[in-house]
């Protein structure tokens, strides 16, 4: 399983979670975990997803999130979970 962390930050507006989740669903990417909060007025969401279902190159998936980045003026950052596992787990 290729797991990735998707972090989403920006101005809170209606439908951010829906937009991201819908796009991931369209790509056949399963959401494994989700946490969301508002930090000092800033929408902050972290998702752990399984990329394998998409069957697409990593760069293609990342670029597929561009319309949401643009439309909702959000910072959406995707990185493989391996970097966190490497750094924090022996």
């Amino acid at each position: 399983m290729t797991k990735a962390l998707i972090s989403v930050t920006g101005q809170d507006t209606t439908g951010i979670i829906a937009a991201v989740a819908t796009k991931l669903s369209d790509l056949n990417i399963n959401i494994l975990e989700i946490s969301q909060t508002i930090l000092s007025g800033c929408f902050t969401m972290m998702m752990v997803v399984d990329l394998d279902g998409a069957g697409l190159e990593y760069a293609v998936i990342d670029e597929a999130l561009d319309p949401i980045r643009k439309d909702k003026k959000l910072h959406i950052h995707m990185q493989r979970m391996d970097i966190f596992d490497a750094m924090h787990r022996v």
Partner: protein, 448 residues
């Protein structure tokens, strides 16, 4: 399961504390490219590099994107050219520079000669060509090994390198003597160093190998900010923990690159490599320990602790540790040393003392343009002696900036940054350098 706090810590390290992978360096063995005709050798060299490294930059960029960590440089190191060159080495230099541009790497290292015990004819031809080659190529880096614990110090080579550095400075005078920034003189040079300008692919290396260098002084400094005023036991432990995390990412990147390029993983270099950016300084790690500036009494001890703790933390995080693996304290590439040197608090002599306990030596130090070749040779001899006696790598990369005097500034741009011109001791050593010959290997070389 990874906790939110851990995720945020990683993100902060990358986004706010300048943590990055400094380089993926592909070592390429060129021993099979030798040919009696220089042009034919150059063509073989060019073809082999382009064939082996064709996916290096693309792969590095893909890993960078997926793991969300910058991989600042993708570079190539090759077999010391004096070992494959049977005639004029200059056509090979041109081919190397062209291959570096074609592959999209910013530096290629290995225009090198290993002369610790003496020079071959090929070594002599290569060393003589260094000033012209560094003035007429853009991305090629050169290094010469003049001593080792096993062989002693080749004082003929030391004398010659003083002259070569002067000539290189003169031929690149229009550019603040930039050529000297691409030339390193080593004692105990290592074969798998991924860092420029001293990288080359040693004779004991395989056909090709992936070597990775990490960065992260900003991360170490931030970690130490949390233990202000606490004893050194706590400082060392904090550095070890941080170095472990940094190195694990280096190992991950090295493994990914190795798998995707189908090239064996060589080593992860544990050095903390600084940049001129604020917050990315080894000197500021030292000041965080309680020194006003790098250079204050206590600096050498602080550096010794840092260097040792980085190794202890890093060594468990990687299958194979190698390269230089120590803290870098260049002057031009590092804001903390620049500031301390400009304020007169960090002198050449103190830097020399610091090199007794860290890896690299006198690195990227601008000195007055009228410094004599003999003085430069003396500086090289002193550093080589430290390396030889302590069984460690030392190096000299000084820039006698033409037309500049102590207190002026030289500007190289980019990663190389800028540097204050530091005063040197001008007391004559001409008779000492004129002697030549070899300083015998020390007793500690007889370990068998």
């Amino acid at each position: 399961m990874i906790e939110t706090g851990e995720i945020l810590q990683t993100m902060q390290m990358i986004q706010q504390q300048n943590f990055d992978i400094r380089t993926i360096t592909l070592g390429i063995n060129l021993l099979d490219c030798s040919h009696p005709v220089a042009e034919a050798c150059a063509a073989r060299v060019y073809d082999k590099i382009c064939m082996t490294a064709k996916d290096l930059v693309k792969t590095g960029e893909a890993i960078e994107r997926e793991l969300g960590i910058p991989i600042v440089n993708k570079r190539i190191s090759v077999t010391p050219i004096s070992l494959i060159c049977q005639g004029d080495p200059r056509p090979i230099a041109k081919a190397l520079d062209k291959a570096a541009k074609e592959m999209g790497v910013n530096f290629l290292g290995g225009y090198s000669a290993l002369m610790q015990k003496g020079a071959t004819k090929a070594d002599e031809r290569l060393v003589e060509s260094i000033p012209e080659v560094l003035a007429t190529t853009e991305r090629l880096c050169s290094s010469v090994n003049v001593g080792s614990t096993r062989a002693g110090i080749n004082m003929n080579a030391v004398r010659q390198m003083g002259q070569i550095i002067k000539k290189t400075a003169e031929l690149t005078a229009d550019n603040d003597s930039l050529g000297c920034a691409k030339l390193v003189v080593f004692c105990n040079a290592v074969e798998d160093n991924p860092f420029m300008a001293g990288a080359f692919c040693g004779v004991g290396e395989p056909e090709c190998a992936i070597n990775v260098g990490v960065s992260g002084p900003g991360v170490v400094k931030t970690a130490l900010e949390q233990v202000k005023g606490q004893p050194f036991d706590v400082v060392a432990e904090t550095i070890k923990r941080t170095a472990f995390k940094i190195t694990r990412v280096g190992q991950l990147v090295a493994r990914e690159a190795s798998q995707r390029l189908n090239i064996p993983f060589g080593i992860v270099d544990l050095s903390l490599a600084p940049t001129p950016a604020r917050g990315d300084s080894v000197a500021h790690v030292l000041t965080e320990m309680g020194l006003e500036k790098a250079g204050a009494p206590g600096t050498t001890a602080a550096l010794a602790l840092l260097n040792d703790a980085v190794k202890k933390g890093g060594v468990m995080a990687s299958n194979h540790v190698g390269g230089l693996s120590g803290a870098f304290i260049p002057v031009s590439e590092e804001i903390g040393t620049i500031e301390a040197a400009a304020a007169g608090q960090l002198t050449l002599e103190k830097l020399e003392a610091m090199t007794c306990v860290c890896s690299v030596g006198l690195d990227m130090i601008a000195i007055p343009g009228d410094t004599s070749a003999e003085t430069i040779s003396g500086i090289i001899a002193d550093e080589a002696a430290i390396g030889m006696v302590n069984s460690k790598t030392t190096a000299v990369r000084v820039i006698p900036a033409v037309g500049k005097k102590a207190g002026d500034t030289v500007e190289f741009g980019g990663l190389l940054g800028f540097a204050p011109v530091m005063p040197v001791n001008t007391c004559s050593n001409a008779d000492f350098i004129a002697r030549g010959g070899r300083i015998p290997a020390p007793l500690q070389s007889l370990k068998n």
